[in-house]
Structure formats: C-alpha cells, structure tokens
C-alpha cells in the first residue's frame, strides 16, 4: 500500500512538472475583472456620447466613405486605444503579481509560446480592422474584433489554462451574433469584451483560490 502511494505521488509529480514547464499559468482572474470593467466603462462612455445627441450609432454604421461621421470616429478610436492600453496594463500587472507568488519568472519559454500563439490570429484581426477603419468600412469591425479575439484565445488555450477555451468560444458566438444584429454592435462589444471578461475573471479567481 505504501509502495502504491509512492507510485501515485510520482505520477502526480510528473504531471505537475509537465504542465508547469509547458504552460503559462500566471494568468490571474483579477486581470479579467479589471480589463472587463475598463471595457464596460469605455462602452458606457460611447453610449453617453451618443445619448448626448452628438452622434447616432445607427446612422454611424450606415455612414460609409464620404458620409462617415469623422469626429465621432475619432472619439471612438481614442476611446478604444485607452481601453486597450488599460486592459493590457492590468493583464501584465496581475500576471506579474501571480508569477511572483507562484515563484516563477513571468517571461519564460511557456509565456513566449503562449503569446506567440495568441498574437498571430489577434494581430491578423487587428490589422484587418485597421484596414477597414482607414477605408471607412466600419460595419463589420466590431464583429471581426470579437471573432478574431475568440479564435486567438482558442489558439493560445493549448499553452495556458484550459478554461481560456470557454472564453474563446463565448467570444466567437458573441461575434457571430453581432453580425446578425449588426445595429446592436456596441451591445455585443460590451458583452464580449466587458461582461464575459468579468464573469470569467471571477470564476477563475475563485477556482484557483480553492485549488490552493
């Protein structure tokens, strides 16, 4: 019996080392909560802007090419850049904190592999959205952001916590729905980048806490 315990312990240790050395596990649920909240505030900001009567979201989407509402577009882009910056900052900060607590370095080969696999689809989608933006073909930008982000998460999911795959699937479904209900893009954007991140972050934070 004692022998068997030793063998089981040996197997558990092998599994643990294989995972620890090949996967990025410093992702913190808290960064999901913060990044999601930032996204919700960003979307709220846009909504208030449209409510103030300065711009109409529906006509904005129909406005392609010459008829596009340029000041509103500038406001949207600036708002999006600030949201992206704050979200990345929180991901970096909370991952660093968790890595420190787990006693591993944040920048190791598992991290590099995960980021490479995340950023190949993500950068493709980002560049595509920028091209559409410069051509003022605006209506598909939000769904494409959601779809490429979801695909990027699933691609990176092989090299980090498996639960990331569920977030990726949720983003893809949200992205497809955003194409169907194209005039409600802002709502789906808030759902995908805001609400899902917050829910995912809270669930992950408590699951990890229990595991420790």
């Amino acid at each position: 019996m004692e022998n068997q315990n030793k063998q089981l312990q040996e197997l558990a240790e092998i599994r643990n080392l294989m995972e620890k050395s090949s996967k990025f596990l410093s992702l913190s649920g808290l960064s999901g909560v913060v990044a999601g909240s930032v996204a919700i505030f960003g979307a709220l900001n846009v909504w208030l802007y449209t409510q103030a009567g300065a711009a109409s979201y529906d006509s904005f989407y129909e406005g392609v090419g010459e008829s596009a509402d340029i000041p509103f577009l500038r406001f949207l882009v600036l708002n999006a850049v600030i949201v992206l910056f704050l979200a990345l900052l929180s991901a970096w900060y909370f991952s660093k904190r968790k890595a420190k607590r787990m006693n591993v370095s944040l920048w190791n080969s598992a991290t590099r592999r995960m980021l490479l696999n995340l950023f190949i689809p993500l950068a493709t989608g980002g560049i595509l959205c920028l091209i559409l933006l410069f051509r003022l073909q605006l209506n598909l930008i939000v769904p494409l952001m959601l779809l490429f982000y979801g695909l990027a998460l699933i691609n990176a999911g092989k090299y980090t916590e498996n639960s990331v795959n569920f977030l990726g699937l949720a983003e893809i479904v949200t992205g497809l729905l955003a194409v169907v209900f194209i005039n409600q893009s802002l709502l789906f954007w808030t759902l995908g980048f805001g609400v899902w991140h917050v829910i995912y972050g809270i669930v992950m934070y408590y699951l990890n806490k229990r595991a420790w």
Partner: protein
C-alpha cells in the same frame, strides 16, 4: 508477461532525474536556469543529475552563446524518451495490479 518491476528504471529513483525527464518530454529544449527554476534546486545538485542522465545518453546537451553569455540547453534523446515511456507504463501496470489485489 514481462515483469513490470524490471521496467521500473533505477535512474528515475531520484526525484530530480524523474523531474528533468518529465520536463524534457514536453519541451523541445530547456536551458539550465529554466530547469533550476521549475525544479527549485541548487546549481550543483541539478548539474550532477544532468551529468548522470547525459552519461546514460537519455538527454543531449547543446552549448551556445546568447549575447556573449554561455547558455546550455538540454533535450531528451530518443533513447531517453523510450526509457521514460516504459517507466511510466510500468508504473501504471503496478498501480493497476495493486488496485485489483485490493478489491
């Protein structure tokens, strides 16, 4: 039937050697400092176990310079992979047979 005890490899009685092989099974190549960090052991301890595995031809060593600093990285050889896999299989058989005896 082959005796599973025979397949339990003596080399892997050490926790560190078992750990090194586990890590190298899932990573193409890992450098010395990364191994040290994951296994949480001292330089000397790690070096001696790496030497033992190298002399059994279970791992291969490659040395190079990365921005003028020497960097040593290790990978599992085909022989090492094969031995580690049969070690795992033997562990599995032992645990299974213990389970069926207990029932």
């Amino acid at each position: 039937m082959i005796n599973p005890i025979k397949q339990i490899n003596k080399t892997f009685e050490s926790r560190v050697r078992l750990g090194i092989m586990s890590i190298l099974m899932v990573n193409a190549s890992v450098d010395f400092n990364a191994l040290k960090e994951i296994l949480e052991i001292t330089d000397g301890n790690l070096a001696s176990h790496l030497k033992a595995l190298e002399s059994e031809e279970m791992i291969s060593v490659s040395k190079q310079f990365i921005s003028r600093k020497p960097n040593t990285s290790y990978s599992a050889t085909d022989k090492g992979r094969q031995i580690f896999t049969s070690h795992l299989n033997a562990l599995e058989i032992l645990i299974r047979s213990n389970n069926s005896k207990a029932q």
